[in-house]
Amino acid sequence: MNPDLDLVVHRVIRAPRATVWAAWTDPDRFAQWWLPAPTVCRVDRLDVRPGGALVTRMSDDGVDFVPHMDVTFLVVEDLERIVFTNTVDSSWRPVPPAPVHLTAEVVLADHADGTDYRVVVRHGDPASRTRHEELGFFDGWGSVTKQLAAVAEHS
C-alpha cells in the first residue's frame, strides 16, 4: 500500500457471498450499482474471467450514452477475488486511461454476519515527477494547489 496512491474500502455486507458475487457477475445486477443515479449504466460486456472484458457506457439522460469503462480482468477466483485494470482495454491493447491508471482488487470472504468485502485500488501516479518539477511543485501531487499559491506569492 502506498497511502499517496492507493485506497482501501472495507465492509461487512449482510448478505451471502454468492449474492455479492452475483451482483458483480450478472450484467443486469451490476448495472444497478456501478454508477450513481441518475446516471444510467449500460453493460456492454461483463466477462468475469482472467483476460475477460468489462465494458460499460453511461448516460445522464438515458438516451445518449458515452463510454465509461473499457478494462480487462486480470485475476478471477470464483466467489473469492476479482482483479481488473484499466491499463489495457478489453482487446488487451495498452491504453492511456484517464484520469489515472489503476488496478482494482475485490476480495470476498465469509463472515459471521455475511460477507467480508474489501476493495483495494492501486493507482499509478496521475502525472510524472517531471511534470511536477516543470510546474514548480516539489512536494508531490497531493499539494499542487498549496505549492502553486506559494509560487505565486513569492515571485
Partner: protein, 112 residues
Amino acid sequence: MAQYLAELDGVFAALADPTRRGVIRRLGRSPTTVGDLAREFPMTLPSFMKHVRTLETSGLIRTVKHGRVRTCVLNRDRLAVVDGWLAEERRIWEERTDRLERLVTEPEENRP
C-alpha cells in the same frame, strides 16, 4: 457524473502538454496578456492560441478582454480538482460499495 468525468479528463489532458504547463506556471505568478505570454513560447501565434483555448476549455484558465487586449488568468479552483483526485476516487468507491450493499441486502420488492 458523465460530465464531471469528462471535465476531469479535460484537466488532465490540458496538463499533459509542456507548453500548457508552462502557461499555468507563468500565470501562477500573475495574470498576463496573451501577447506577452506568446512571446515566451517559441511558436506561431495561431499555434499558441490553440493551447490557450485548450486551457480555457478545461477551465484551468479564463481569459478577459479589455479593448483589444486579452488577458489570461489562472483558475485556482480548477487545479484543486487535480489536487483532490485520490479523495475523489475514494468517494467514488465508497459510494459504489454503499450501492452494492443496498442492492444485495434490501428485499427485492423495496428496490426501485
